[in-house]
Amino acid sequence: MAKSIVNRGSRETLLAHREALGNLREILFANVVMAGEIPAPTGYERRITRFLSDRFTECGLDNISLDQAGNVAGVISGKTGRRNLLVAAHVDKIWAESEDHTVSVGVGVMSGRGLADNSLGAAVLATLPLILDELGITLDANLILLGTTRSFGRGDLRGMRFFLENSAWEIDSALCLEGMALGRLSFSSLGMARGEIVVEVVRPHDEESATEVSPGVVPTLSELIEAMLAINRRGCPDTRVLIGSIESGSGYSVPPGRGLVRFEIRSLDADRVSEVEAELVQLVERFSGRSGTTVGIEIIARRRPGNLGLDHPLVREAGEILVALGLESRVEPSVSELAALLDRRIPSLTLGLTKGENRHSPEESILLDPIFDGLAQLVAMLQFMDGGDFTF
């Protein structure tokens, strides 16, 4: 069994690591800026994976590769290589290529689209070889650094799934890096179904006159959304229908003929996800039966729930490290790469690297000083994982 880094009386070491990593401040921040300014919408991550592979090359990593899914990987070979540890960060962002990706740097803060999700994660991945060097740490285990593609939306974790299905490496345990939020204890993944509902009205040929009499899809959309949200009010706190976006219309006076609702069903219980999904399908059929309206539903991504458990040594150690760093921990289930890892019963956690605000907004910002707590946490977890065999 691995020895606890914290219980070995090494709180001082943890704090010393945090202090020493200040030497890499500019290199890390420059990596955040560079990763932040590369547009990387889901499915178009080539430039940022190239950036990571260049960094891996400069650091002398072994087995640097780009796989068929576009993932980039590099390996820091361990002293014994008996185990294989994985550190992964998804490199895609929610922002389109055409959006302004300029990063601004102030005193102790950086802002720009996608910094928290997940330019910081990618930048830490790029800097991790130097971090271990700076601290004089050589692991016994092989450490695989992986930048994954196609995480968001219709991407459906395709990058991570491809890696796990096809990689020759047998992963013993893993960490996923997310920019936010430092202090999260993410050891479980929610069951999830992500989908889109499209509502369309069938317009007569004379479209001009049609706009005079038809209210378009607005009433149907409104009723549909109300019915979806009513599911949440039926008192099943572990299951939620989340409506993430609604798109319809393009002006002020012409009723829209098409509407799109993007949603997720999330639950700790896989059966409940299926039940709610079935309920939504019925709802769609009911609305679709109305004259002049077509309604369709498509599920584009699914996750099965997984849970390492609060008592798992990895989770306990992560909590103790946060306490030793003087940080409050917060249990926060995940629907990202962690789900794919837990699905394959690989003991894994997601770590948040810093604090910030306005996630997924154009003003997304991250605080710089707390990143060093996040790095100290990451290093301590790697040392702990290096010392033990963990089961799911």
């Binding site: 500019e26 921040f29 420059a30 300029t102 601004s104 102030g106 005193v107 102790g108």
Partner: protein, 328 residues
Amino acid sequence: MSETDERIARWLETNTFHHSEFWDMQELVRAKHEAGLTISLCIPTLNEEKTIGKEIIVFKSELMDRYPLIDEIAVIDSGSTDRTLEIAASYGADTYLSADILPGHGFKPGKGENLWKAIYQLRGDIICYVDADIKNIHAKFASALVAPLIYRPEIQYVKAFYDRPLAVSDEVRPSGGGRVTEILVRPLFSMFFPELTALMQPLSGEYAVRREVLERLPFPIGYGVETSHLIDLYQSSGLDAFAQTDLDKRVHRNQSTTDLGKMSFGILQTFLNRLETYGMAKDLPELHGLFRQFQAEGRRYEQVTHEILEEERPPMITLPEYRERHGR
């Protein structure tokens, strides 16, 4: 083809580079050490808090920590009222108030003043100037400018230029300068110093120069500093002293037409002064510094005047303090 055309064509062939030619940073650092050169990076500022932090981080990380190409990074400020200096210092730049350098010579507001004082304050054999308002900053903005000076001892002055396609047709890229370049400077150069038209962006704020050249140049403190450098060095050393590097793309603040008018006025003052100095124009009237613009409100039209005086600092080598500090 005229003799000038041939010289320009030859120069474009031999002294115009693309930043990608200098991709091998390890080799560049090795060559720098072998040549025994030191390099200073100077960023002149006035209220640049939005972009200065990123510039310092990128330059320090890439050109000091990762590849030790630059020996010092200095911000020389004209008196910012925002957090420019605080941010620059927090990321490890040396910061100076222009007014505190050579205080015995007073302080004149203007970017040229900061560039001139940098020659005294900084230690490098090469000084690379980079403007602070670049949004898409990258290490190449400095490394690809100093590289020709490291590899080619005969080159004295390297200017940046950028891709600003005005239109795209076939495979020819129009190499447009800024508006002031195309409307004012290039026509003037075409008329009086045709070989200097080969510099794609003569007004770009990114350039690297050897100390022994900088210390002998007079410095207009305002808009005319870059134009005067080019004319003075061209007159003393010819086109072959120059080189230019294509840095692809530069994203920065767009200036208003009114501001560009002031800039043009300042450049024109410097240009006419130089024509007089080199005996290329006779009987010019005494040049004044009053620039007139107009604004309208309804049917009321009013004159707006700006006093734009292109004062000049003398060549740094003429200052005893400088000669003492730098052992000249």
